[in-house]
Symmetry: C2
Subunit: 265 residues, 2 copies
């Protein structure tokens, strides 16, 4: 048996999400259909992260096990040939059988892209979120910084979140000006359901002067989802990077960070 690691990206606009469903386009659905055809039996893929309907991935990983005698470059070629235009396989590698895409994922980065203009641009549809407002980026950035470190994120996730611990560590959280508007970049040990989109909606409120950076600690401590009722739309959200080892994470964010190893739980 060979474990195969696949690095992909996809435009989320036309997908119901990563996870396979009974009907409709999903990223998992396309890969499992291709693998079934090649193996003549069902093959399950295991992603590092599941993205929601409309959310993009610049970098995403999954693994699967195979008995087929196919080289990594042949896997890449075969998959790309069969995939639709909005998914692309960047790299295929063979990995040890004790590696698991989900449990070895120690961190992720997301980017949320907003464009600002006097007029909506139909060619940005499903790629960036449109906001006509004048936003105070400096204030947004001050608020973004408040999320750094380890916190319970109950106030900043969907009520549908079903996990034991809502504690996560944020390594990077900042708002930067771009040519077309602004991007919010957030990296952490993991993210709760809708967490990036809820934080983004809150930061937009800060940019509009309706909330302030000093509210963040209080909101985190309250652990009450009703205090932050909005969720920014999916279209501007990109899964940007997956960290598959503590080394990679330390290299990027320094030696003093708290690393959550899911395997050791």
């Amino acid at each position: 048996m060979q474990r195969v690691l696949v690095k992909i990206s996809y435009h989320g606009g036309q997908f119901l999400g990563f996870q396979i469903q009974n009907q409709g386009r999903t990223v998992q659905g396309y890969f499992e259909k291709i693998l079934k055809r090649m193996h003549k039996h069902d093959v399950r893929i295991h992603p590092s992260s599941r993205t929601d309907r409309g959310v993009h991935a610049l970098e995403q990983y999954f693994h699967f096990d195979t008995k087929l005698n196919i080289s990594p470059s042949q896997w890449q070629y075969a998959m790309n040939r069969a995939l639709p235009q909005d998914i692309y396989v960047h790299e295929v590698t063979f990995i040890d059988e004790d590696f698991h895409c989900r449990y070895d994922c120690v961190g992720k980065s997301y980017r949320y892209a907003i464009y600002q203009a006097p007029h909506r641009n139909p060619f940005q549809a499903q790629l960036k979120t449109y906001l006509a407002d004048d936003l105070d980026i400096e204030k947004m950035n001050q608020a973004a910084e408040q999320f750094l470190g380890t916190h319970d994120f109950t106030s900043f996730c969907s009520q549908k979140t079903e996990v034991e611990s809502k504690e996560r560590t944020i390594y990077e959280s900042r708002v930067i000006r771009t040519e077309e508007g602004l991007d919010f970049i957030i990296s952490g040990s993991g993210f709760l359901y809708n967490m990036v989109r809820v934080i983004m909606a809150f930061l937009i409120e800060v940019g509009r002067g309706k909330r302030s950076a000093s509210d963040v600690i209080q909101l985190l401590e309250a652990k009450d989802r009703n205090l932050v009722p909005h969720t920014a739309p999916a279209e501007g959200l990109y899964l940007e990077k997956i960290y598959l080892s503590a080394d990679e994470l330390v290299k990027k964010f320094g030696e003093n960070i708290t690393i959550h190893q899911k395997k050791s739980l």
Copy 2:
């Protein structure tokens, strides 16, 4: 009765085309639905051009007649509020009742966008056509120039074309290098069904060294669609500009051009 001229753009990726159909997303369908709701009766819109499934419009016009007492800026606001993200109304103006978007259209420009890269980019899906090949742009440009002037375009349109005359005048036809690949720009008095996509497919063959610029005149004279069997995909095609008066056309392409006035036919 007031005739209203509407300038729009749209991302064609998720439309079955401009023209309304019994089922599915169409640009005309969205506007007529909005107008019906506002008027409480059916209102027909008349576009300058009809675009096919997947074809984009950077600039497109249509007109309709109304008895409602609504200002141009109110029309624009009401439509943009009700439209999906992939259509946008740029401008609304009142025009004379003897103006007709289709019959007063004396010229159009199209742009066909190709991106070239070692890897397919899923975020260009439905926006540009991907070609990994190394294309000879100079040769493509030489071939593109051969289409200038007035010709019968039977060899360069779909067999489904049903019009009396297949003679059209081309004012501009050139291939330019872009940051990501190349664009083909063509302007003319009018275009037959699939004409730009058939010419584009031919120019790609030229860029690959399989056809040459000197073939063009012969192919045009043959008036046989079977000689140019390919059609480039819709996704790279943009309706870029509509010329609604001879003045505009002369201003852009000079006084010596042949102008086809549909009204006088």
